[in-house]
Symmetry: C2
């Protein structure tokens, strides 16, 4: 189970009731923040999910509307009593930007490890894999996917049939091989078929490149920028390296995701709901984000 | 006449309905911003005073709660169409901090001139003098005073009596000496006695040092930090180099100001109004600030 909150759903500049890009995830008490625009702290204060347990911050890119809230938040996390190290992930150049922003908070009571421009899968959080994808924006920018692994079902009737000593059940259930009385016991002797985990993907800011559908494939929740709702703003989207609602919905369809959550609305669009049909007509399960929208995702009951 | 808006009245971290330190002044269509904490842009958007005409930004010090809103605001001012240069004033070290924050907004359509650690009076804005005072905080910090000069009254009956040619009236009225037909005409031939201008002073963050009363003397509006309302928090105020309401009120009294506007409330103080009496009992004309409180100050009608 994972809780997700859209802390801010604006792009470019913060406006009343629409802070800038940020998503907070709470998984097993550990928090992961994705982007940190201006106002992030205020939404967090309203939500009351706490500051101290933010251990990982994923930044899409170094534009102000995705990162200006960071120095203030780092200070608040410090004031909340955190002393454990924190990991910040970001695209090429992120170290320089973080060091720049940290001129206003040079002293923090915890260490920050920066992972710049990662390659391949990251296993920072237990049972969760973080993957990144290079996007097509006006500065180096990466998308993220978060995958929570699910163990295959433990089948006690097979454990009994295979005569597994009871003291090994937990080891095998956890996917480890056990050797006991010179005999080797494999996890597949007690475990059922593979089960799908939970996948969340986050794509902003970018044009809709071909690598996205595979990257977001089968996501339970696909959080995607929709800077412009009106189809007629396509030229602006192309010029500013952003997407329209329709383009985001086409990606959701191609990626066969369960739900599309649109965010990162241009401030010129005062009521994004008015353009919802441009997403729904392509991908019915589209939602228009708003500040502090929350979702809880659970493992599927089918398995 | 000058309009003043308290954009944010919080210290440390932004909370709902209380953004961080910032004051906006509008004088003859030119805007001066004093400090720029997180949320400044949002308050400005609500106020609708506009972004483009901000030509001077005064920063008290480089702590996040006074400057984190700056890079986002600079971008928004750029997007509003400003191309005229901007001046930013701040204490020792401010250039390094501004350059750090500008890593997220490296390209702006206007030039920024930084005046670091100024000495003496600054005449950047027509008819206005800006003065600074070194304060006592945990990092280099300066207070500001803004003085709008008022011309002495023009007395046409004296101009007639002194036989001043009419084409020289405006020149003398503006305080310039004129030579006409080999005769010298001085401003004092048409002008009455000196008249008091408008003075606004801004003091945060600091302990109440002895230099403050003279610096703020006779201010029409004295905007001052009151991090702690409760007298019992004096120890915290001393430790964190801040002030209590009572200490701020004592400065207002010693400086013989007209009105004290308290701001920069610690987030632990959810209702600063509850402690108003601690200021009023020392200095009756004390006001508790709130986000987007506005004031219009005019030249005195007595003169």
């Amino acid at each position: 189970m994972i809780d997700i909150a859209l802390l801010g759903c604006g792009g470019s500049m913060p406006i009343p009731n629409r802070y800038l890009s940020s998503v907070l995830m709470n998984y097993n008490g550990e928090k992961i923040l994705v982007d940190c625009g201006e106002g992030t702290q205020v939404s967090m204060k309203i939500l009351k999910w706490g500051f101290k347990t933010i251990g990982t911050i994923c930044i899409s890119h170094g534009h102000g509307d995705h990162i200006i809230g960071l120095p203030g938040l780092l200070a608040t996390i410090g004031n909340s009593g955190r002393t454990e190290p924190m990991t910040i992930i970001g695209p090429e150049g992120i170290t320089h930007i973080i060091n720049g922003l940290r001129t206003v908070v040079p002293y923090l009571p915890y260490k920050i490890n920066i992972i710049e421009n990662p390659d391949g899968k990251l296993n920072i959080i237990k049972d969760m894999t973080i993957e990144v994808l290079k996007l097509d924006h006006s500065s180096p920018c990466i998308g993220y996917s978060f995958y929570i692994k699910r163990k295959p079902k433990f089948e006690p009737e097979r454990a009994i049939k295979n005569e597994i000593p009871k003291n090994l059940w937990k080891i095998l259930q956890d996917g480890e091989t056990a050797i006991y009385n010179d005999k080797v016991y494999e996890p597949n002797m007690v475990l059922g078929k593979k089960r799908k985990g939970i996948k969340i993907s986050y794509i902003t800011d970018t044009r809709p490149i071909d690598a996205i559908p595979d990257f977001i494939r089968e996501s339970d929740l696909f959080i995607c920028e929709g800077s412009y709702g009106d189809k007629e703003d396509l030229e602006k989207a192309i010029k500013n390296k952003h997407m329209t609602f329709e383009e985001a919905a086409k990606l959701a369809l191609r990626g066969n995701v369960k739900e599309l959550l649109l965010t990162h609305f241009n401030p010129s669009m005062s009521e994004p709901e008015l353009y919802k049909y441009n997403a729904e007509s392509v991908f019915p399960n589209s939602i228009i984000g708003y500040d502090r929208l929350t979702r809880t995702l659970k493992f599927s009951e089918d398995d």
